[in-house]
Symmetry: C2
DNA sequence: GCGGCTATTGGACGAATGCGCAATATCGTC
DNA sequence: GACGATATTGCGCATTCGTCCAATAGCCGC
């Protein structure tokens, strides 16, 4: 196989692990799966990663960080805190990303047993909460919304979206995909003292 | 080993599976673990269950159904819909039941790949939502609370508690255990047009 | 007390797991 | 064009997995 630089090879391993995890699940992704997907031998994986735990954590981190960056960009580009929050709900759980949220489910569950995965999910959940809290604080400072405890409000909004998306991804038919964005946005409007529809669809 | 009736043996298998799953996780529980815990041979497990998937689903169902029944009882015994909702928040995520919620996490993640588990988590999530929706409807009928869409309100409340509890169990230190009950209750008060503290601690 | 039904045993089977290591191939450097 | 560093190979190792099945043991009705 082509001889790659360590940094390129690490990327390739993570990309291959991700491709496998997407269809087999994070926990069920094996060293040999990754090697086969990459078109190399299995020994190569352990030449770059100490354990499978770290490979999976890196794979999960890649999608999760990309999603976070994308939402953060859209929120930063929005016109003010309220529009930023609307962007959050619009981009957080896109309809074509069930597999990405399934990765979150896998990672949360595995966190209890795999240290590297726990560190990653924890770090990214905190980053999401910090992003929301910062936006809420800006909105409060601008007098556009109300929040007695911006940190708690951020946790509530984030957790609500996660809890709703969980139902969609795990069970499919209990809740509609549209409901997640709509319901979460309307709860946030109430939470932050906004007018109904302020964070809602299209507006 | 003592020869048990089929029904007793099934119970024993489920109980043993539960004991193992509690400390090793649902997905990591094996046939041999269950047999060892039970003090019998491993072949016995497959004499009563077609596959490991069904053993795990039955084990999860046992705790989840017991928890649901316990909360439902306390809610039914409460004095009116508002007190019933307060009982819900008090009993949903007890401090000593992190392991039970970890089972939920495991089950949600496994649902995508194990049919028996998905059917179980789906059924129980729907039951929780129905319980909440019924209580909310009673409160609306009694004029004690406001909800334009009781079904949606029930999903929001349930999902918020799940999302918050998820952070506690998966990450431990991000959110405090007390925050789950307190924050979820205050969000529900807002959602249902109740006075702050109406569902809160001690009252 | 005896016979038959069946709960239970305990290991076989094939496939899969993470990880490690000596051998080999390939690239950049002089 | 040869050399040295190292990326890559390919298999071995020791376990573990779910499932299956013939043999055994224990209880109930007669």
């Amino acid at each position: 196989m082509a001889r790659l630089s360590p940094s390129d090879r690490r990327d390739a391993i993570v990309a291959a692990a991700l491709a496998v995890a997407r269809q087999k699940g994070l926990a069920a992704t094996t060293v040999r799966d990754v090697a086969t997907e990459m078109g190399t031998s299995s020994g190569l994986v352990h030449h770059y990663f100490e354990s499978m735990d770290e490979v999976l954590a890196a794979a999960f981190a890649r999608v999760a960080e990309a999603d976070l960056a994308r939402s953060a960009d859209e929120m930063a580009a929005a016109d003010g805190p309220v529009a930023a929050l609307a962007a959050f709900f619009r981009t957080y759980a896109p309809a074509d990303a069930d597999w990405a949220f399934q990765l979150w489910l896998d990672a949360w569950a595995e966190a209890a047993r795999r240290p590297a995965i726990q560190a990653t999910t924890r770090r990214l959940n905190l980053a999401w909460q910090a992003l929301l809290e910062k936006t809420i604080r800006e909105g409060v400072a601008a007098g556009q919304l109300v929040a007695a405890d911006p940190g708690a409000a951020a946790w509530r909004i984030l957790s609500l979206v996660d809890g709703l998306a969980l139902q969609v991804v795990a069970h499919g038919t209990t809740i509609g995909r549209d409901d997640v964005e709509r319901w979460a946005a309307s709860a946030a409007e109430l939470e932050l003292g906004l007018a109904p529809g302020a964070l809602g669809s299209g507006a």
